[in-house]
Amino acid sequence: MPNPNLPSSAHASSPPSAPAVPATPVGQQTTTSSGSVRLANAKRGEVYWVDIPKKHTVGSEQYKRRPFLIVSNNSIHYLKIVIGVPLSLQTQKTNRQFRIRVAANEIIMDQGSTLTAGERIALTEQVRCLSILRLEPDRQAKLTDTAISAVEAGLGFVMDIG
């Protein structure tokens, strides 16, 4: 018997069906035993601010408040997690390889965005899983399809997939 809580795509033999019970929609206010929070409605190709405290990291892992590009498939976001890649302003970073340059005109800034405009480097080696709680709720920008697919090229190399 297939688990009804898994996405329908996980069951090769069963036809896709819409879920019967609505879950807490991402992008809305949700209440937990720890308080009330507004969640980001993150989708693949979008950019959000993410704050990662230093004490949550070790070694060369990135920390501080940084813009992250969401690279995960939208179909996993119901789990309230996303997979993101930090976007750096330091475009002169050496050792480019899998670090993908994203031209300024490939970044479509949202109104009221607090991102600094300009070219960015997607640090694909720093890809990580993020709870949507780590994402600040307001979207900052969106990348063009060309740019997101280019970042995917770097991710494919880093993870040796594809």
């Binding site: 996405p7 720890s34 308080g35 507004r38 390889q97 709680l133 190399f157």
Partner: protein, 259 residues
């Protein structure tokens, strides 16, 4: 990425093709073809190497770029001759193109690893390896695109555009990877000016764009199933994990902190 694309545009090459017909092969792969076709491919590869040797002999960036603009059309035509020869043979053996491409990438990768580091150093070869690997992934996407077949109605114009962009960028990257291959395998170690080498590396980097266009072409063919992104109820374990993450996070940090 942007710089390399500008260089490509400045070459003012406009390739009009009906579908991606790029195949990455070297001499050993030509031998799997019937004698007549193999002879055509070997001649085209030889001519192509002559063009590449002329190109790497450029003594400065300006000459390199001028020469590249001049030879690129010939390089493209030779590549189409090679691609078409394999297409003819692939009518009998559908997996042929995929197999020879796979072997050719492996061969070039081995050449870079074995000969490349002493000639060009680790950094250049690492970068070249990334470009080669990305081009290989782009070609794998083309196999998937062919398996899906035609793009749906309403997306065909975009598909043609992506196909043309893929061909341009894949061949541009291949030309520059060929430059690196010829440099590392030359009998006499050719002197390559640093600014020329920089241009070569930027050109090879267009494999990223080739991947991007191929990926978008594949995306056009995939069904956009909305049921996959609708909310799905969480099971007990998911709920527990989520609840734990809320507690841990709220206790330790202020959520959505301003800078």
């Amino acid at each position: 990425m942007a710089l390399a694309e500008k260089s490509l545009d400045s070459a003012r090459e406009r390739i009009h093709i009906r579908r991606p017909d790029v195949v990455f092969v070297r001499k050993p792969q030509a031998k799997v073809l019937p004698r007549g076709l193999a002879s055509i491919v070997l001649t085209a590869l030889r001519e192509s190497d002559i063009l590449v040797k002329q190109l790497i002999a450029a003594t400065n960036k300006k000459d390199f770029e001028a020469l590249r603009t001049k030879i690129f059309r010939d390089y493209v035509n030779l590549s189409f001759i090679i691609g078409n020869s394999f297409s003819v043979a692939a009518e009998e053996k559908p997996q042929l193109r995929q197999l020879v491409t796979k072997e050719a990438f492996k061969l070039v990768e081995e050449i870079l690893h074995k000969e490349g580091i002493p000639r060009l150093g680790c950094d250049v070869i690492r970068e070249a390896n990334f470009c080669l690997d990305t081009l290989r992934r782009a070609h794998r996407l083309i196999v998937k695109i062919h398996a899906y077949g035609k793009a749906p109605e309403g997306t065909r114009e975009r598909d043609r555009e992506l196909s043309s962009l893929f061909t341009r960028t894949a061949l541009w990257s291949q030309l520059h990877l060929d430059c690196i291959r010829v440099i590392v395998t030359a009998a006499r170690n050719p002197r390559v000016e640093p600014d020329v080498l920089e241009d070569i590396m930027n050109g090879a980097r267009l494999s990223v764009m080739a991947y991007s266009y191929a990926r978008q072409g594949l995306e056009l063919r995939k069904a956009q199933d909305t049921y996959l992104v609708e909310s799905v109820p969480l099971d007990a374990e998911d709920e527990e994990l989520l609840e734990e993450s809320y507690s841990d996070y709220v206790e330790s940090e202020s959520i959505n902190a301003e800078p």
